[in-house]
């Protein structure tokens, strides 16, 4: 039997500290759906996704109900469409996006990821078609998420792809201007993209994965924040090493919850279990914020000096706790700092504590990167490409995943408010110095070579 304290603390974590399973993502390989005939291909992918996912939402709800832990999002990731749909043109790619959008609606999931291309070393015809299709595909659909891997530690940065993508982002923003450029919120640009990440918008199913696999994304910034606050209330003299230990232990518990739920969903659906991705992913809700953790640690706000060190400690402790809890930790597993999706981070931008330069510095030590960052609508393609290239360089050199999800907001300037709604939140548009410059560096194209893998001192 559990003692009263164990029962209360468990219920508190779920009810008041927003412990939930943020995403159960069913990865589905579409390689056996390939056809040169578009109608056959669309029919094949529709039938394969429905066959595997028709019971996903119901099963997640059932298991969530059993354990009293909400599975907030049920999602699907698929093989990169640029690979499985390689024979098709850009307009045909848009048609495929519509088919996927319809299937996602049919199986009642909010996002399907994998409208993706892997172009870190070069752009094949399928990749070209997909990149060209991105603006229309994202603006015309609601549930499709896209990602493009433009860099890796082994291959360097494909600067042609970086520029192409920045053009696609600008075009997607223009096509969804009425929604403040919302289409761009469904597009991530990556360095070292993980093959098994359950979180959107970057989730896709890697080519080395099984035919179908369940990956689980667990969150819990509220739980971590409360754990820190409780510990400091009981022992105000705790040093940072001891606080890191508390974060690690809490992350371990949260990961175990994710694995429990994920394994049961996978078992009931008779699908292989993949990984738990323990990423502290915030929502625009008070008490479910990464930014609030910084304040619990004693900083005025995320963005002030000390923030990078605090984030490094947080990210590392989360990874250590997750790695101890499960042998199958994957995805990103760290801390996200999405600007509009975290109420506290959005406030830090509005109050001037957090700038895009500091945000970039912080991405050196956490998972992901410049995430859900609204920038002025008149930002040039070259400046946008420069920001993306900078972020990719951090990932390439540091042998880690980095990404950008930048939203140029048409017709708005730095300091204006932008509202995306739901989990995507709202924020103040960040200032970008020299946003309209058209520097030639990024237009030279080519590939920035991969870094040396020896002489590391």
């Amino acid at each position: 039997m559990f003692n009263a304290q164990e029962i209360i603390s468990t219920i508190e974590m779920v009810k008041n500290e927003h412990l939930d399973v943020r995403a159960v993502t069913l990865g589905i390989s579409l390689f056996d759906c390939i056809s040169h005939d578009l109608s056959v291909f669309k029919k094949n992918i529709r039938s394969k996704i429905i066959r595997n996912a028709s019971n996903l939402v119901g099963m997640c709800d059932e298991v969530g109900e059993k354990y009293g832990i909400a599975v907030v999002n049920k999602r699907i990731s698929i093989s990169p469409i640029a690979l499985v749909g390689a024979p098709f043109s850009a307009s045909q790619m848009v048609e495929i996006a519509h088919t996927l959008n319809d299937v996602a609606r049919e199986v009642n999931i909010d996002f399907l990821g994998g409208f993706s291309a892997l172009v870190e070393k070069g752009i094949a015809p399928g990749d070209r078609a997909l990149i060209d299709a991105l603006p229309e595909a994202l603006a015309q659909t609601q549930r499709i998420c896209a990602s493009v891997n433009v860099a890796s530690t082994r291959s360097g940065i494909n600067m042609d792809a970086v520029l192409d993508i920045s053009r696609a982002i600008k075009k997607a923003a223009a096509l969804s201007a009425a929604d403040d450029g919302l289409a761009c919120a469904k597009l991530c640009v990556f360095a070292n993209i993980p093959q098994d990440m359950p979180f959107m918008a970057g989730a896709y199913l890697g080519v080395g994965e099984a035919d179908a696999v369940i990956n689980v994304g667990v969150s819990g910034p509220g739980v971590v924040k409360k754990a820190i606050e409780r510990a400091l209330e009981n022992s105000p003299e705790l040093d940072l090493g001891q606080i890191a230990e508390i974060i690690k232990n809490t992350a371990c518990k949260v990961t175990r919850v994710g694995e429990l739920i994920g394994r049961e969903v996978a078992k009931n659906l008779k699908i292989r279990f993949g990984v738990v991705d323990l990423s502290l992913a915030p929502t625009p809700t008070v008490g479910d914020s990464i930014g609030e953790i910084f304040q619990a640690l004693g900083l005025t706000s995320i963005g002030v000096p000390g923030s990078t060190a605090a984030l490094a400690m947080l990210n590392d402790a989360v990874k250590k706790g997750g790695a101890f809890a499960s042998s199958h930790v994957g995805g990103l597993s760290g801390a996200f700092i999405p600007v509009s999706e975290d109420l506290n981070i959005a406030e830090a931008v509005a109050k001037g504590y957090l700038t895009i330069e500091k945000l970039e510095a912080m991405t050196c030590v956490c998972s992901v990167g410049l995430d859900m960052v609204p920038v002025p609508g008149d930002i040039s393609e070259e400046t946008l490409a420069g920001i993306i290239a900078d972020e990719m360089a951090i990932g390439m050199i540091n042998n880690k995943t980095t990404a950008t999800r930048i939203i140029p907001v048409p017709g708005k300037k730095a300091g204006d408010k932008v509202y995306f709604g739901g989990l995507l939140g709202e924020a103040t548009i960040m200032n970008v110095n020299h946003a309209t410059n058209k520097d030639s560096f990024v237009t030279r194209g080519g590939r920035i070579p991969a870094p040396i893998h020896s002489l590391k001192n």
Partner: protein, 184 residues
């Protein structure tokens, strides 16, 4: 051979388990399972024992009463119809039903009545009522065994409805979630 269950009740103090086990040992009885708890200052102990064939239930009970005569304890002994250590069906699922909220008369009665009406067994119950407004000072936690035949949805709905009527916060969760979080 039937086992015997000995129940000891009385005001808690040091030495109760020592006295009982000594008496049983001197009768050459073998302890198979022991469990005890203290509610406020009241001791309750349960001893399931194997006994020599020549000792009857009545002899054991009388000897215990004699050995523990000066301790003002209530002693009860009966034949134990046990199924061994594993007395749970393997297809049972254990859920914890926890209510948190202001103390009221008849809470346990009202919830257990619902649980019983669905023919569900309460395997463990913890109830702490300290009164006052502090929510965590007034907790009931029922561990119940749900079988495949149980109308689980109906039971949970009835319990949630009753909690709503009584102004209590209710959580119904499979026990594995508590093990996952607390038993690392």
């Amino acid at each position: 051979m039937n086992k015997i269950v000995v129940t000891i009740l009385g005001k808690d103090r040091p030495g109760i388990i020592a006295s009982v086990s000594k008496s049983l040992y001197q009768m050459d009885c073998n302890l198979q399972n022991v469990n005890q708890m203290i509610l406020q200052n009241q001791f309750a102990g349960f001893f399931i024992i194997d006994h020599p064939t020549h000792l009857t239930l009545e002899v054991i009970r009388q000897q215990l009463e004699k050995d523990l005569a000066d301790q003002k304890l209530h002693i009860h002994a009966d034949i134990a119809e046990t199924k061994g250590n594993d007395n749970h069906e393997t297809d049972e699922e254990i859920f914890l039903i926890t209510t948190i909220g202001p103390d009221q008369k008849g809470l346990v009665s009202r919830f257990t009545e619902i649980i019983a009406s669905y023919n569900v067994n309460v395997t463990k119950l913890t109830a702490i009522f300290k009164g006052g407004d502090e929510p965590t000072a007034n907790i009931m936690s029922y561990q119940v065994a749900i079988t495949p035949d149980t109308n689980q949805a109906g039971l949970f709905k009835s319990l949630r409805q009753k909690a709503l009527e009584l102004g209590l916060d209710i959580s119904i969760q499979h026990k594995n979630i508590f093990e996952t979080i607390n038993k690392i």
